[in-house]
């Protein structure tokens, strides 16, 4: 008879409890909501607009911050520089500080009273109470997901490959674009998905920067406060479903990217 260690049995039971902790509230929410309720909520114009705003703002924040974020991850993975450990800690800061506090901090930075805010206002870009501000708030709290995933991706690329490229006449920037980036791409894409998904769900920082226009999280909060649980539940289900759909779609995209390259390899090998 196959023997199973008591440790593994206990671990499986405890692990099952942890999974149940994630699944049970979501499942409860789904069971208590009816299809007609969901349909009705999805027809509401304010709800639809808030969902589109959430998706667009999170996507915009993710893509905008990826431009400086990816090179920062590369530097953190590859180079030793003064205060590197401090910078590594700094990168995780938005995850650990209360998000409402992050919103207050951002408010000071993005408002027209600040140097940055006033400079951007001169260029016609305003943040407070605007989609651009929402995108910044979402990006601020979710950037660590991209930075850490990309850093791990770059660190997993063997240094030897970059050295070989340098020896073959490639400049450091050419090495980055032809070797490091293509080889770390899957980790970066995974980081972008996590950043986007986490940005979409942000409430604390967003509500301080912009109560209006409303993101789905803020709208959910308002409906809960104004109309109670019964009315808030269908919108919560809708928001969760949409988050899940985008999360799964993007995950599939990164998986497909991998399987396509595998298929290509097999074809060329044949």
């Amino acid at each position: 008879m196959k023997r199973t260690s008591t440790f593994y049995i206990i671990s499986s039971l405890l692990g099952g409890l942890a999974l149940l902790f994630i699944i049970a509230p979501l499942l409860g929410l789904m069971i208590k909501s009816t299809w007609p309720e969901l349909f009705q909520v999805s027809q509401n114009r304010d709800v639809r607009e808030s969902i589109i705003l959430t998706l667009v703002a999170s996507m915009l924040g993710t893509l905008l911050l990826a431009i400086p974020g990816i090179p920062l991850s590369y530097m953190l993975a590859r180079k030793q520089f003064p205060f590197r450990r401090f910078v590594l800690g700094l990168v995780d800061l938005p995850v650990v500080i209360p998000h409402s506090a992050a919103g207050i901090a951002l408010l000071g930075f993005l408002s027209k009273d600040s140097f940055f805010g006033s400079g951007m206002a001169h260029l016609g870009i305003e943040f407070i109470g605007k989609p651009a501000g929402i995108a910044m708030a979402m990006a601020f709290v979710s950037l660590p997901f991209l930075l850490n995933a990309a850093r791990e991706g770059f660190a997993s690329v063997p240094l030897r490959l970059e050295q070989a490229a340098l020896n073959l006449g490639a400049t450091p920037s050419q090495v980055f674009f032809t070797i490091s980036l293509p080889l770390a791409w899957r980790s970066i894409l995974s980081g972008l998905i996590m950043m986007f998904a986490r940005g979409m769900s942000e409430f604390g920082a967003v509500v301080i920067i912009a109560y209006h226009p409303m993101t789905s999280s803020v709208m959910l909060w308002e409906w809960f406060g104004a109309y109670g649980l019964k009315y808030a539940r269908p919108i919560a289900v809708l928001v969760i479903l949409i988050s899940l759909i985008f999360f799964i779609l993007l995950r599939l995209l990164s998986k497909n990217d991998d399987s396509v390259s595998r298929k290509k390899r097999k074809k060329k090998d044949a």
Binding site: P158, Q163, L166, N167, L168, G169, A170, P182, K268
Partner: protein
Amino acid sequence: MLELRNIYYETGEFQLHDISFRVEAGEYFVLLGPSGAGKSVLLELIAGLTYCDSGNIIFKGKDYTDAPAWKRPFGLVFQDLALFPHMNVYDNIAYSLKRLKLDKKSIGQRVEELSLELEILHLLYRKPDSLSGGEQQRVALARTLALKPSVLLLDEPLSAVDVSLQHELRALLRKINRNGVSIIHVTHSFEEALAMAQRVSIIEKGTIIHTGTPYEVFERPKSSFIANLSGHRNFFKAKVSREPDSDLLRAEVSPGNPIYCYGNPLLTEGFVLINHENIVLSLDKPDLSTRNNFHGIITDLHPSRHGFEITIDAGILLHAQLTAESVQKFSLEQGSKIWACFKASSVTLID
């Protein structure tokens, strides 16, 4: 052509120091040394992947010491080959040519030319991870040769392939060298150095201890590492003094155990080399004219290609060879007492 002058490099507890040598145009130069001697670091310094703390790297009169890696005319083939896994063989070979912004046709021609030369034309559209060790080695060579480097740097190029492929690759490397490419080949293998080198440098503990033709280096070794490699087991560092009223020199290997020999009377320190064939063994004290007579105990006795190899502890460890018949005749075994004798004139003293 390529000259390294007094290179000094330090990282952690490891140091490369007093590294100087010159490689001529078209020369096949081998750097031989044990693991951890600093051979690979030295190649990385030449290639510009790391920078030396002092010293100069001069090529055709131009100082490349501080030049970035991508501007140096030296192609390095890494020990682990470092083929780009996300590119097929064609793109690996074409990598450096694309950086030069050559047109597609010229790149294709050059890749085909190299693939023919290295017999990898049939592999061009395969990914590196689907190739055998020998095929990968050829691809790595082709990729490095694409840029027509003035000096080819090879880091243990034969270590990852089996013995039958080693012969093939050696022939290939000689062919590349005959085509005019200077080669600096790093290895820890004595046979490889002997087979390939026009000149060889011995590197040990971060410094070069001997440079010369393989004959010069291996016949008169200057380190126990080389002496062992070239089969000289009786190799000792000694303090040398002159015997009064004689041409004889006294080489003190360990206190109270002098070896008498002839050589440069001005030497105060050197290496003593005794060919095991010159050691005569006897159970009783021999009545011979030999100047060096050591009485000791056999500490090891094991079969070898030519009979038995024995190690005698006589204050110094001497290695000698005996036929199987002699071992049987004298009933020799571990612990037996024996005399080991050799003439002063049979000892080589190396400065």
